[in-house]
Every structure is written in C-alpha cells, then in structure tokens.
C-alpha cells in the first residue's frame, strides 16, 4: 500500500499576500463622537492669546515697578547719578555734555522706534499666517 503523500508546503508569498489582505480589510469600525469632542473643548487650557497678553502685561508691569522703585528709593540720587555719568562720558568722548545728551536721547528714540516697528512687523506676519 502506498503511504499517503505529505501535504504540499504552502507558498510563503501567497500566505503573505493572504495575511496582508486580511489586515487591510480589517480596518477598525468608526467610533461615534458621543460627546467626546465636547469633553475636549471643555478641558482645553485658557486661550493662547490671553496667555500671551497676560505675559506682556506682567512683563511691562514688572519693568514699570522696577523703574518706580528705583526712582522712589533713590530720590534725587538718580538725577545726580545721571548728571555725573554724562560728565564722565563727555570727558571721555570729548563731546560737550548737551551734545552728548542729545546724542543719547536721539539714540534712545531711534531704538524705541525700531523696536515698535519690529513688533508691528511681527504682529502683521502673525496675522497673515
């Protein structure tokens, strides 16, 4: 009597294709929202804009507070310090004090204008994007 033939080995590439077909067809069913999005919206942190505005206000407040404290606690010493500083710088630069003062003032104004312009440009870019 003839022994039964062993089963033919399966074709690995055909098996692979079969498994891949099963995987592609077995996609997960759609999950109903059922209030999930509402729960997310309630749990979202405070508005990003409010956070940035709050940060700007705090920073400006801290700067003003620092300047105010300096003025209050030093009293007239601030003006005296500024005057001595101008005289020392005038001696070093060989410029007259009024000219030096005007130069500093013009420089500070230019910095402020440039800073405001940069801030406005950045804000406009944010709005565009």
């Amino acid at each position: 009597m003839n022994a039964p033939e062993p089963p033919a080995p399966s074709d690995p590439s055909a098996d692979d294709a079969r498994v891949e077909k099963m995987l592609r067809e077995a996609s997960l069913p759609y999950i109903d929202d059922a209030g999930f999005t509402n729960r997310i919206m309630v749990a979202l942190p405070a508005s990003r804009r409010h956070a940035e505005r709050r940060r700007s206000v705090l920073l400006l407040g801290a700067v003003l507070l620092g300047c105010g404290q300096t003025a209050v606690f030093s009293g007239s010493k601030v003006l005296e310090f500024s005057s001595i500083l101008m005289e020392r710088l005038a001696a070093w630069s060989a410029l007259p004090v009024p000219g030096l003062g005007a130069t500093f003032t013009a420089g500070m104004l230019a910095c402020w204008v440039l800073t405001l312009a940069a801030g406005g440009w950045a804000w406009a870019r944010t709005r565009q994007s």
Binding site: S10, D15, D16, R18, V19, E20, M22, L23, R24, A26, S27, L28, P29, Y30, I31, D33, F36, T37, R39, I40, M41, A43, L44, P45, S47, R48, R49, T126, R127, S129
Partner: protein, 186 residues
C-alpha cells in the same frame, strides 16, 4: 496634507479659533481613539482618557506642527507618546485599570448566510491573533495597514528607526501566518 486640515490649523493658530479646533477633533477622534483602543488592549475608558490628553497636547503644541506629515500622523505620534508615558507609570504603580470591553462583533448582524458567518469568525480570529502580538508589533501593523501609513511615517510616529518598523512588521506577519493557518486555502 488634507486641505481642510490645513485651513483649520491656520485658523486656530491665527485667531485661536476654538471652533476650528473642535472640527479637527471631530474629524480625527475616531482614528486616534481606535488606535489607542488597540494599544490598550480594549480598555475603552483608558483609551479615551489618553485620547483626551492627546488632543489637549495637540492644542498646546499646534504651533510646532509644520506640515511635514499629515495632521493625523502627527496626532498618532502624540497618542503613542501618551500611551508610552501611561504604560511607564503603570509599571511603577498598579496594573492597568478599567474593564476590558469585549464587544460581540456579531451584535446587530443577523448572519444567516455561511459567508457572513465566516467573515465574522475571521474577524474575531484576526482580532485575537493581533492581540497576541507585542505592543510594538501591533502598533506597526495598525499604522501601516489600518491607517495606511508608509513605513517611514510609521517610524516617525513610533519614534524608532525605519529598519525597526520593518522588522516589527515582518515578525508580526510571520506570527499572524502561524496563528491564522486554519484560514489558509486548502
């Protein structure tokens, strides 16, 4: 990237448009929650908690999304990270909490034909076979086959080298071939 997603993201970033972010959540919540349910082994409550953390982190970090990948792919990356953090925390404390929901896949289906019954049986066997894979293998298989990501995109989501993803997929398919050998044609 999906044009609608691009528009919604731009609105959120420019005007902090929460309605637009809500639309993004609605569009992607099913895919993210499904992915997390697969990773957590059917713990629906835990998966939904992780999905919530995912979308909140996405809102906070939306400015960091530059469109190199699809928005859904980026969300899957965040979801996978939240899952890893939770699993690490779980190892330090107690086991996963929450009931494992065993859904009857035949619910609502009146299967009268043998073909329909066979389809349901195959789905159940496939789900059981997938559950026997490691988490990394399940993640790689899900991302590449259910979500349709390329191997490179899946590597980005999982935070591992491309070769590692390919190895996970090869090993997973080898195991699935063995587990599902009963379904091989005669």
């Amino acid at each position: 990237m999906n044009h609608r997603d691009t528009e919604l993201i731009a609105r959120v970033l420019a005007n902090d448009d929460r309605h637009a972010f809500g639309e993004l959540v609605r569009q992607h919540q099913s895919a993210v929650r499904g992915f997390l349910r697969r990773l957590t082994g059917g713990r629906y409550a835990l998966a939904d908690d992780l999905a919530q953390e995912t979308f909140i982190e996405a809102y906070r970090c939306l400015a960091r999304f530059h469109g190199e990948s699809a928005f859904g792919t980026w969300l899957h990356g965040i979801a996978y990270n939240r899952f890893r953090i939770a699993r690490r925390r779980q190892r330090e404390t107690v086991e996963w909490t929450g009931e494992i929901e065993t859904r009857d896949t035949t619910e609502g289906c009146e299967t009268t034909s043998p073909a329909a019954t066979a389809t349901v049986d195959l789905q159940q066997d496939l789900a059981a076979a997938l559950a026997r894979l490691s988490t990394d293998e399940q993640s790689a298989i899900h991302l590449c086959y259910a979500e349709g990501l390329t191997h490179e995109e899946a590597a980005g989501v999982l935070g591992c080298p491309l070769g590692t993803v390919k190895t996970h997929i090869l090993r997973a398919k080898d195991k699935l071939r063995a587990y599902l050998s009963a379904w091989a044609p005669a």
